[in-house]
């Protein structure tokens, strides 16, 4: 008789849920514990809020000296830079300063940030060292959750789970011979849950602004900022991306929120598949690339 363990902890600013199935409870308990430890580690390394995290350290010092980072942070930075290049700068981790301005991130010391800074000013040097060409702030909020899910899945697999699902606030990945049913929120009424897909083996990330939207100086703002225009998206739809890794799926949802249906082709070329859930009057519309 297979055993299922399902646990949830508050991490990465959201609820992280880990489900694992297998034959041995002791083995599963330790695999689940390991999965949460991996997520907690990503949190410690990549939190904007914690000054001792890798992100905190580079934001404070990388404009002066090259700062060495953990291999995990390094991997996320490399992926982010690659995505910036292939999305012509739409996806950009240097929007940290805009997020501070919009009130989504706390402002650190009164530092003069360079308004012209972009992803090209983040230099990844040999020896896992990071150097900024201008004074800027990076934020990995658009990609670190997906990366954490991938690392947690690694732990579940290595720990002997036959099947499992890790869900970090809507960024999820499943594995094993199980069809995991996933509901997504109605984009206009987030309390309504809509059966959406079955995940057999792969990742599905969903982003939308229903809980994050705020009004600033009479204008609705969101925490998803266009790297080129340096303005937040005003998308009213929800964007889901299926991909083999949750890191990629998570990051690509931001591109879809910024570019809408025009992103379908690019998402496809980068290895994902985009779904847009929107409302048109009382009707719910799902658009996906064929």
């Amino acid at each position: 008789m297979p055993i299922e363990l399902r646990r949830a902890r508050p991490l990465l600013g959201t609820l992280v849920e880990v489900t694992a199935r297998g034959n041995c409870e002791i083995e599963l308990t330790s695999a689940v514990r390991g999965a949460f430890a991996a997520v907690a580690r990503v949190h410690r390394l990549m939190s904007f809020h914690e000054s001792r995290s890798d992100v905190g350290r580079v934001n404070r010092m990388a404009h002066r000296i090259a700062v060495r980072v953990h291999p995990w942070t390094w991997t996320v930075l490399q992926t982010a830079q690659r995505l910036s290049r292939s999305t012509a700068g739409a996806f950009d981790i240097t929007v940290g300063s805009e997020l501070v301005r919009l009130g989504y991130l706390p402002s650190c010391a009164r530092v003069a940030l360079d308004r012209n800074a972009c992803w090209r000013d983040v230099h990844l040097l040999p020896g896992r060292r990071v150097r900024f060409a201008r004074r800027l702030l990076i934020d990995l909020g658009g990609i670190a959750k997906g990366f954490a899910v991938d690392r947690a899945v690694d732990c579940l697999r290595a720990g002997g789970a036959r099947a499992g699902l890790v869900n970090a606030g809507g960024d999820l990945r499943g594995f094993g011979p199980v069809a995991w049913r996933v509901h997504v929120r109605h984009p206009a009424e987030p309390g309504r849950l809509i059966p959406f897909a079955e995940v057999v083996s792969g990742a599905l990330a969903t982003s939308a602004s229903y809980f994050a939207k705020r009004v600033q100086r009479g204008k609705a703002v969101t925490p998803v900022v266009d790297g080129l225009r340096r303005t937040p998206t005003n998308a009213t739809f929800s964007a889901s991306v299926a991909a083999s890794s949750c890191t990629l799926a998570d990051a690509l949802t931001k591109l879809v929120l910024l570019r809408g249906p025009r992103a379908h082709g690019l998402v496809r070329r980068l290895g994902g598949r985009a779904f847009i859930l929107s409302t048109s009057g009382p009707r719910l519309e799902l658009r996906c690339a064929d």
Binding site: R7, A8, R9, T14, N167, P195, E198, A242
Partner: protein
């Protein structure tokens, strides 16, 4: 693209009836105790705080103290185990916090997560009914919902709750 092809999208289901409430139980009290302090013994040390203590906790944390009674256990290996609840606009979360002997947070585990939308949630009496109930909930909770793929509510309320418990430790447990 084989990963993508493994996906079964169900367009017909998009017009399905709305579901307005969702609940998951992750751990019972005993399971949460063993998850945070494996192998330890637990002695109930429930606390009822007085007015002065409530005010002091609120002053230190800026967080409202809703309940005067706090479910606390003393752990045989040192430290405390506390079961607490936080209520957001749409969610009700029961969670367990393990404190080390020095008062630092050892681990937090979610025990119950419930989410609801609609007018009822504003009603305090209805909410009270919601708290701690296992059976006969006034709401129809959809058991088919396994995973919510859309963004979850932030865990800011839990962070505030833990802040409140750390102040409780200083004021009433230490």
């Amino acid at each position: 693209m084989d990963v993508v092809n493994k996906w079964l999208l169900m367009p017909a289901a998009v017009v399905a009836a709305p579901v307005c409430a969702y609940a998951t139980q992750y751990l019972t009290i005993e399971q949460a105790q063993q998850a945070i302090f494996p192998g330890a013994g637990f002695i109930p040390a429930f606390v009822t705080i007085n007015d002065a203590q409530r005010k002091e906790i609120e002053r230190r944390t800026g967080v409202n103290v809703r309940a005067r009674d706090q479910r606390v256990w003393r752990v045989s290996t040192g430290g405390f185990f506390i079961v607490d609840e936080v209520v957001g606009k749409h969610e009700l979360i029961t969670y367990a916090t393990g404190l080390n002997a020095d008062g630092s947070v050892r681990q937090i585990e979610i025990m119950d997560y419930r989410e609801s939308y609609g007018y009822e949630i504003r009603n305090e009496a209805w909410r009270r009914q919601f708290v701690g109930r296992r059976d006969g909930d006034p709401l129809k909770l959809d058991a088919d919902i396994q995973n919510i793929g859309g963004a979850t509510l932030s865990c800011r309320h839990i962070a505030d709750g833990v802040k409140r418990l750390l102040a409780l430790y200083d004021v009433a447990l230490k």
